[in-house]
């Protein structure tokens, strides 16, 4: 067990290292990315630009710059942003975690419940109007870009119908910490949760339905039927169990990535100060220290989530054993 965990940790470090090197190289391969002139300010004298270049160490070789940056990120922990100078990167990321975690966890609850409902009902009522209707809805969900849906939600709840009974409870955009007010936290996040969850309800619902239908044609289900078990019991106890394998796999991928900051457009549209928005601004400004920190942070969650999923395989489907 310990060996497995250690092996996973080693692999995790490999993934983080790989990504950080890639990001670093891409950054410096980009023409115009040289931060010196941007830090110096507009119409700065060439001498001032040179001064900044030396001060920030941009005149040193790339491996040295990489090593210095990693040292400042992990060892001395005093790496600061290029844009909001003086702001340390690590507290910046840590401060952003609660908002992202609240957004993604809430949305995940919604999309797991929603997609289980959609998948099970559609599979159970296969080829009926209900099934078709649910599939059309889920495809509409998949086809709506989240930035568009988020803006439409804002248009309806903050602007057009803000003064009606329907949306008068919706607070202004932004995150309310859970410690400050539970009710405020909930109200501020309801609409972002729904917006983020819609896409995944669509995808997972479709996948689950297909897998359930697939499972129904397998021998053990037929055996179970022949034994006269109730349809509900067959669905929930037998078919659903094996069908959850791809479901759980994708959940691991999506949850890991979203907690790592992939919900950037949702966070930007709803003004939530989470890791995603941090990543978004860092990318827009080509703020290398923050990009590196967020990317390494994100890769941690991606690898961790996949490790958990791999362990769950054996629990869900006893056939998967090595």
């Amino acid at each position: 067990m310990l060996a497995t965990v250690l092996a996973r940790l080693a692999q995790m470090i490999f993934v983080m290292f790989g990504i950080s090197v890639l990001v670093f190289l891409i950054f410096f391969a980009t023409p115009g990315s040289d931060p010196a002139a941007r830090i110096a300010g507009r119409n700065a004298a060439p001498e001032t630009v040179e001064q900044i270049r030396r001060e920030f160490g941009f005149d040193r070789s790339l491996p040295v710059q990489y090593a210095v940056m990693m040292k400042r990120l992990f060892v001395t922990r005093d790496l600061t942003s290029f844009v909001n100078r003086g702001q340390k990167v690590i507290p910046q990321v840590l401060d952003a975690v609660p908002a992202t975690l609240s957004l993604v966890a809430g949305a995940a609850v919604l999309w797991v419940i929603g997609s289980l409902f959609v998948g099970v009902v559609a599979a159970a009522m296969r080829d009926t109007v209900v099934d078709r209707g649910l599939m059309i809805l889920s495809l509409i969900g998949i086809s709506m870009p989240v930035f568009w849906l988020g803006e439409v939600m804002n248009l309806l709840s903050q602007s057009r119908f803000h003064d009606t009974w329907l949306f008068s409870w919706v607070p202004g955009l932004g995150y309310v910490p859970l410690s400050e007010s539970v009710g405020g936290w909930f109200k501020a996040l309801v609409i972002p949760w729904i917006t983020l969850a819609v896409l995944y309800i669509g995808i997972y619902g479709r996948i689950l339905r297909a897998n359930l239908i697939e499972a129904y044609s397998e021998d053990y289900i037929r055996t179970a039927r022949a034994k006269g078990l109730s349809p509900t019991r067959i669905m929930l106890r037998h078919a659903l169990r094996t069908s959850l394998l791809p479901f759980v796999t994708m959940f691991g991928l999506d949850f890991g990535a979203l907690v790592g900051g992939a919900a950037l457009l949702t966070e930007v549209v709803f003004g939530l100060n989470g890791v995603g928005r941090l990543t978004f601004h860092a990318l827009q400004n080509l703020d290398l220290p923050v990009i590196l920190a967020t990317v390494i942070y994100a890769s941690f969650f991606v690898v961790a989530a996949n490790a958990v999923v791999d362990m769950l395989y054996a629990v869900i489907d006893p056939r998967v054993r090595k």
């Binding site: 391969a29 037929r222 994708m250 790592g260 990318l283 994100a298 890769s299």
Partner: protein
Amino acid sequence: MSLPADSNQAAASPVAARHLAAVSARGPWALAFRRLRRNRSAVASVVVLLIVVLLTLLAPVYADYLGVDPFRSNLRGQIEIGGEAVAVMQQSTTGLGLGVTPIGPTWNPAGYMLGADNQGRDVAARLLYGGRNSLLIAGAATAICLVLATLVGIVAGFLGGVVDMVLSRILDVLWAFPVYLLAISLSIVLLTSTIDLGIVTITAGSLALPIFIIGIIYVPYVARPVRARVLTLRQSEFVLAAVGLGLPTQRILRHDILPNLMPTIIVFVPILLALAIVTESALSYLSIGVQPPDASWGTIIQDGQSLLYSRPAVALAPGIAIVITVLALNVLGDAVRDALDPRGQVR
């Protein structure tokens, strides 16, 4: 498993059945095709898809009929509505007179049926042209993604061990990689230079770029469920039986694993297509792929995004086109799956 005595027979039979089918006069694919033709909703979905493709191919004809080039800015243009000349870009005349709003949908195919965008161009005509790029990019990206993901998923899942570990971690790197950074970087690199890959030379407006980027970034998303499915299949009775019979691995993969993966893969087709169209819009926003004034459904949604409060139809129209296409593909996918499934008739 509850009937151990029968399990051997049950496991052996699909293998035998498939081998029988292979030698019969009509192959399984031909059989599937015949089943498909009998499925009415499958035929309907094919017709819908054909209409969508046909309409996009007829885009130049429509633009010709309109007499307005959908790739030219028409900020000072006028059209005739009910005998009156109306400006395409309408200056606000109320209050402080701030803002210029493009003309809304006229619902008249003779011009600006779906209104104009920020450049005063006909959204309906751009929608037809945009469909070509979107369908091409999304279609090709989906195909690349599925092929790669299936390959990786099968190899990782079936071989296991170190191969699985290495492939899985590469997928992790891919999944955690900030694609936007790559896109921002590429768009700037391509401004001054072209990337020569030997076979193809990639320039800023090259559609190969979004196709490959989208095709690759979603590989983990499909490969991991495929791998999970392969892990299950590898332990299933008929594969164990095939291994027990000493059949070559390649043959097992092709005859026993791959066909059973088809349902898992097919369900991804419409999902990936929709995701690809949306992702393409983000990439073209970062100047990768479809470049202005050219259009795709994704870029029209982006254009419409900045008109959401005044002209919501601009973003809505391509969205509806995407839904129709994806829906038709979904129905077709289900039908293909049913047709391919040898056990599909037994319910």
